[in-house]
């Protein structure tokens, strides 16, 4: 008998992955457009990219844990197709924002 459910951990970290990817793209635009943000990120860990990476990785891990605690510890409820659609859309949109920004705006 086929089981069609995903574990709460898989759903939680899948959603965290989607959010972290979009935030990654937003940080790119914000830091490239704001000297103050870029300067601040350079000061925190010595290089803007190191700070950028650390923010996104910590966000992914923290959100994965938080989404797993939703609904009284049962985690976020979501179908597999919705999760896959969300992750693919987020990764695709983030990639397009980053490529589009450096191609057309920066």
């Amino acid at each position: 008998m086929e089981n069609t459910t995903l574990s709460k951990r898989t759903i939680a970290f899948g959603l965290a992955l989607a959010v972290a990817c979009v935030v990654n793209a937003i940080i790119v635009v914000v830091k490239e457009k704001s000297e103050a943000v870029m300067g601040g990120m350079k000061k925190v860990l010595g290089h803007h990219w190191t700070t950028h990476s650390a923010i996104v990785i910590v966000l992914f891990l923290a959100l994965g844990g938080l989404f797993g605690l939703a609904r009284g510890g049962r985690g976020v409820a979501m179908t597999t197709n919705s999760l896959i659609g969300t992750v693919l859309s987020a990764v695709g949109a983030a990639a397009l924002i980053i490529i589009g920004f450096y191609l057309f705006i920066d």
């Binding site: 008998m1 086929e2 089981n3 069609t4 459910t5 995903l6 574990s7 951990r9 898989t10 970290f13 899948g14 992955l17 972290a20 990817c21 990654n24 793209a25 790119v28 010595g46 290089h47 990219w49 190191t50 950028h52 990476s53 996104v56 990785i57 992914f60 994965g64 597999t80 999760l83 896959i84 992750v87 693919l88 990764v91 983030a94 990639a95 980053i98 490529i99 450096y102 191609l103 920066d106």
Partner: protein
């Protein structure tokens, strides 16, 4: 030493790509006999990606400025302005997707069609993103090379 660091970065990145491609095929045929291997290789793909990321990140932060200056004075400035700028940020997403792989692999792949479907999408994303990073790395190297060629 910088060359060794850079080659190690590429080596582990390609190892992640190959492992993801292997996993895609293994997940298509997931059963009780290959489940443990799928999970071990998922951790392996994530480990390869972390090594590629950390080694490449170290090189980028400490040594890339020399290459950057050469590229910007050469005929392919886009190798930095467009390609390196996108690579250094897309690779963070690749790291996250690779980190997610062993998490997704912990589900029961032999009994859940949905878990297998998710794993196939995740491994495909890793392979495609890693291939894109590989191509971008090649363009950046070529940006340095064409700048150093006599014109």
């Amino acid at each position: 030493m910088n060359e060794i660091i850079l080659m190690a970065h590429v080596l582990f990145g390609v190892a992640c790509l190959v492992t993801a491609a292997w996993l895609f095929v293994d997940v298509l045929h997931a059963n009780e006999t290959n489940l443990a291997r799928i999970r071990r290789m998922s951790w392996g793909a994530a480990a390869f990606m972390w090594l590629a990321f950390l080694i490449g990140g170290y090189w980028y932060v400490t040594a890339y400025k020399v290459d950057k200056a050469i590229i910007l004075k050469g005929p392919w400035p886009f190798a930095h302005n467009m390609v390196m700028e996108t690579k250094e940020h897309l690779v963070i997403m690749l790291l996250l997707v690779a980190t997610y792989l062993p998490i997704a692999a912990m589900d029961n792949l032999t009994k859940s069609k949905d878990a297998r479907k998710l794993m196939l999408w995740v491994t495909a994303m890793i392979a495609l993103l890693a291939l894109a990073m590989d191509g971008e790395g090649a363009i950046i190297s070529m940006g340095v090379k064409v700048a150093l060629l006599p014109h």
